[in-house]
């Protein structure tokens, strides 16, 4: 046997384990204890009663639903460079560019849509964006709809989402 092989001790060879029934008894004791503790006080079971109770422990690193950011002056930050759409492995970002109408920059998206049914939430679009225009920091983990079209997020909807973790505030040094 080569020297660098680590021999892990194999459990379950003792008489008690080989006889099996004592081990079953031990296991049933544990499941029984859990069962009766919880039956005794069901309201104390540490389970989230979603949707009435919402999770309060979503970290800042959580990839929630996408959003489009604004510039400090309130205009759309996106310049329709197609970097996110190119980086997207699921091909779920649809951009139609147009000339800038608000006079801030040269290009802006006329249509910017993300098909969340295709999206794999990999975060590559956020990585690829040179303008910090797309982020996944909304903290929204649940998207519901009645038909497939409801899951295609258009520009207006993406712009309406707010960042959930106050990243703008920390960047601005507030």
């Amino acid at each position: 046997m080569p020297r660098n092989v680590k021999v892990v001790p194999r459990h379950g060879r003792e008489t008690k384990d080989r006889f099996y029934l004592p081990a079953i008894y031990e296991g049933i004791k544990i499941t029984f204890r859990h069962f009766f503790d919880n039956v005794n006080d069901i309201t104390a079971v540490d389970a989230l009663e979603y949707p009435e109770e919402q999770p309060g422990d979503i970290t800042e690193r959580y990839r929630g639903l996408h959003r489009l950011t604004h510039r400090p002056d309130g205009s759309v930050a996106c310049v329709a460079c197609f970097m996110c759409a190119t980086a997207c492995p699921a091909n779920c970002i649809f951009i139609e560019a147009t000339e800038r109408t608000d006079g801030v920059d040269e290009k802006m998206p006329q249509r910017f849509a993300i098909d969340t049914l295709e999206c794999v939430f990999c975060g590559y679009c956020v990585e690829a964006c040179p303008c910090d225009a797309i982020r996944m920091d909304t903290g929204i983990f649940s998207l519901t709809g009645r038909n497939r079209e409801d899951f295609v997020l258009e520009k207006e909807r993406l712009l309406s989402f707010r960042g959930a973790f106050g990243e703008e505030d920390s960047r601005a040094g507030k």
Partner: protein, 430 residues
């Protein structure tokens, strides 16, 4: 046939059907809730009708409606034998259901000098019926897996077959040892045998008289019902779903319900053969009939205590947390259920009081004894069903070669040894 005989026959048949069929939604619910509570979560508890959740039992009935209304998908590649494909879940379901029908729910009723069996099918060869009819269930699994023309389904049914050949023998031999001990193949006579005592103080239950046969019987019945830890015929991680891969909607539900009926049947057989059936420990039917007053008084004291405990538990647990804003009618449900429980208790107390005032030996006393025994039977049945569920959420699944190894190398010699010793003891070594 006298009217009493017809009433008892019909009553026990209806009771058997209810205990088998109505137990399915209850067991499905119980399994999901118990699984949840064992794993520190809640399980289905939201479905309600006008605020009445009943702890979530309503979910099972909603599931039934869904399964009935669901589209029946048919694999298009199956050209011949469709009728058998349709029939195979029914075979599994019907076998488990019919096997349940020979379980006695109470001792033989004597009304007007007539002996009436409280057994849906009043036969005196119950053990043979159970072994014969119960084993047919696996045929449905074979046909289903084989006719699906799907390699996963076929593997599932092959695995079910491999398990059956390794388990039918120890099962049969342990039952033979029990038959030798009780000297009967009648379930009712077996229960009557178990009403005595061994060593002067222990109830003569099969599990104490024949511990080895009892362990083998329980293990093999777990395999017979195709439940964890012996659920090798269905393995999501290896063979998609096993033998019912191609089944949808109600056809799948028949297999699913068949498993629960089989589990219920196995529980009934175990408590009938090993745990004294409908008998309370140390108490025979004769003593209950002659001293029914005492048992009735005892029951009248115990019942309100139990109901009080249930109501207290419900008031404590049937409410929502402060963090959840909506009550959803749970407070109302608790009030109504509390009232219903109290009224039911009062009715039972009144009936018991009325029976104690009657002279002993009347038909009413005999019926009351039978009803009390039915209550004991149902309690034991539920307790053992709970044990089935607990074991499922305790043990990991066996590989199917391990199942065969266990069956052929350990259980078969043990069962033979046990049979040998039993035969020696029964014949007195002659």
């Amino acid at each position: 046939m006298s009217p009493a005989a017809i009433i008892v026959a019909l009553g026990s048949f209806v009771l058997g059907a209810l205990l088998a069929l109505l137990m399915i939604p209850v067991l499905v619910w119980l399994e999901r809730r118990v699984a949840g509570l064992i794993q520190d979560r809640l399980g289905p508890n939201r479905t309600n009708i006008a605020g009445f959740r009943l702890g979530g039992v309503v979910q099972s009935f909603a599931d039934v409606i869904k399964l009935v209304l669901k589209e029946e998908y048919y694999p298009a590649h199956i050209k011949t034998g469709r009728w058998l494909l349709m029939l195979s879940p029914v075979i599994t379901f019907a076998a488990a259901l019919l096997a349940f029908m020979v379980i006695p729910f109470a001792d033989t009723l004597y009304i007007g000098g007539e002996a009436l069996r409280v057994q849906p099918l009043p036969v005196d060869f119950g053990v043979l019926w159970y072994l014969g009819v119960g084993a047919v269930g696996v045929v449905g699994i074979f046909f289903g897996g084989w006719l699906s023309h799907n390699k996963y389904a076929l593997l599932g049914s092959v695995r079910a077959g491999s398990m059956m050949v390794s388990y039918e023998l120890p099962l049969g031999l342990s039952v033979v040892a029990l038959i030798l001990t009780y000297n009967t193949i009648d379930f009712n006579a077996m229960v009557q045998w178990q009403s005595g005592t061994v060593l002067g103080f222990l109830p003569a239950w099969g599990i104490l008289v024949q511990p080895l046969a009892a362990v083998i019987l329980i293990i093999t019945l777990f395999a017979e019902t195709n439940r964890a830890p012996f659920s090798v015929a269905e393995g999501e991680s290896e063979i998609v779903a096993g033998f019912f891969t191609e089944y949808t909607a109600m056809k799948f539900a028949m297999y699913f319900m068949g498993e629960y009926v089989a589990m219920n049947t196995a529980s009934a057989v175990v408590i009938t053969m090993l745990f004294g059936g409908y008998q309370l420990p140390w108490v025979g039917t004769a003593s209950m009939l002659t001293h029914f007053d005492y048992y009735a008084w005892g029951y009248m004291v115990v019942l309100p205590l139990i109901v009080f405990g249930v109501i207290r538990w419900m008031r404590k647990n049937n409410r929502v947390r402060p963090t959840v804003s909506t009550d959803g009618g749970r407070g109302f449900e608790t009030k109504v259920l509390t009232g219903a429980l109290i009224i039911m208790t009062l009715l039972i107390e009144g009936a018991l009081l009325w029976v104690t005032l009657l002279p002993e030996g009347t038909a009413a006393v005999a019926t009351a004894v039978a009803l009390l025994q039915i209550a004991v039977f149902v309690t034991k049945l539920m307790a053992f069903n709970l044990f089935f569920i607990l074991v499922r959420w305790t043990l990991p699944r066996f590989r199917f070669d391990q199942v065969q190894y266990l069956g052929w190398y350990y259980l078969l010699p043990l069962a033979l040894f046990n049979l040998f010793v039993t035969a020696l003891v029964v014949t007195g070594g002659a």
